[in-house]
């Protein structure tokens, strides 16, 4: 539902971090999206294509890398990748852990100009 605001924030983030805003055209934006970031991939892609863009972002493409959930278990000191669920359970010892290593990210990684 808030993917429209997120799409706008992506453009704002790139604009803020770009020194030369006058002569360049941004062709691609690469972002990372954790499954626990609260942002839905398909919806973000749809909203991103929808929002109006100025010359800097003319024909820009959004490339989304989706990160799965990964937790660290302090009990057995091992990491577990969690797929198809959000139950934070260590696959090695069954312990529940709140130590999330990956899955919350919502970042602009790089751009192509």
């Amino acid at each position: 539902m808030h993917e429209l605001s997120i799409a706008q924030s992506i453009l704002d983030t790139v604009r803020t971090n770009l020194r030369d805003k006058k002569t360049v055209i941004v062709k691609k934006i690469h972002i990372s999206l954790g499954v626990l970031s609260g942002v839905e991939k398909e919806s973000l892609q749809f909203n991103f294509d929808l929002i109006p863009k100025d010359k800097l972002f003319k024909n820009v493409k959004l490339l989304i890398k989706e990160n799965v959930l990964e937790v660290y278990c302090p009990k057995c000191k091992q990491k577990t990748k969690i797929k198809n669920s959000f139950v934070l359970k260590c696959a090695h010892c069954g312990n529940l852990t709140s130590d999330i290593v990956k899955g919350r990210e919502l970042t602009v990684d790089k751009i192509e100009i």
Binding site: N17, L88, K89, L106, T107
Partner: protein, 218 residues
């Protein structure tokens, strides 16, 4: 021409996060405990806050509240009846509150002299999860009428909360609520969460929440 790659490595919500960090610093300087209350629409946020605020004021504490709503100011009026200085943030259809809205709303309530500031978020279990408001604590309400699997359906929101209050507990029997399963689901997506139960209408469990909140005030 070969495309040129520029590394950015910045959080998409960086501007909100920076605004939230500034708020958190201001709150801590003035020694105000700030609690962000989230839930789906109709879980009983306003009802519970009204009774909590009444009791906190009775204990001699100063309480402010800001409340987000898509269109009306009904909730702010209800909170006002509890004795708190309250202000309605009208989001005009926006599904969540962000740090800038909070910053603006603070001009309308005497938060600097308060002990506690409640932020009642827009009723929504998805979007508010991503937006830090500079709070010290996030409370999520889950009413027994919503079903035990809410945490599994909205893991991001449940994972982001510090406290879960299972509300409308007086209706458990009527809706065949399975408390054991609900607690299991809540802790499976957030093992560190603290769980309370309450019924604002019947006054059940409210004092335990009050004790916990007052224990956090310096």
């Amino acid at each position: 021409m070969k495309p040129k790659i520029l590394q950015i490595r910045k959080g998409i919500l960086e501007s909100n996060d920076l605004a939230a960090q500034k708020l958190r610093k201001d709150f801590s300087q003035k020694n105000v405990l700030v609690i962000n209350v989230v839930s789906s629409p109709g879980s009983g946020k306003t009802e519970l806050l009204t009774i909590l605020i009444k009791k906190l004021i009775k204990k001699g504490l100063k309480v402010c509240a800001v409340v987000g709503d898509l269109a009306t100011d009904n909730d702010a009026l209800r909170l006002k009846s509890s004795g708190a200085s309250s202000y309605q943030i009208n989001t005009n259809g926006n599904c969540h509150l962000d740090a800038n809205m909070i910053e603006k709303s603070l001009k309308k309530v005497p938060w600097k002299s308060a002990d506690i500031l409640f932020i009642e978020n827009v009723g929504n279990l998805v979007c508010p999860a991503s937006y830090d408001l500079g709070e010290n604590m996030r409370i999520i309400l889950m009413s027994v009428t919503e079903g035990e699997d809410k945490p599994l359906k909205y893991p991001t929101m449940f994972n982001s909360a510090d406290i879960c209050i299972v509300s409308k507990i007086d209706l458990s029997e009527a809706v065949d609520f399975n408390k054991k399963l609900a607690i299991q689901n809540i802790t499976s997506v957030n093992p560190n969460i603290k769980i309370f139960e309450s019924s604002a209408k019947k006054g059940i469990g409210v004092d335990k929440i009050i004790d916990y909140i007052t224990s956090l005030i310096k």
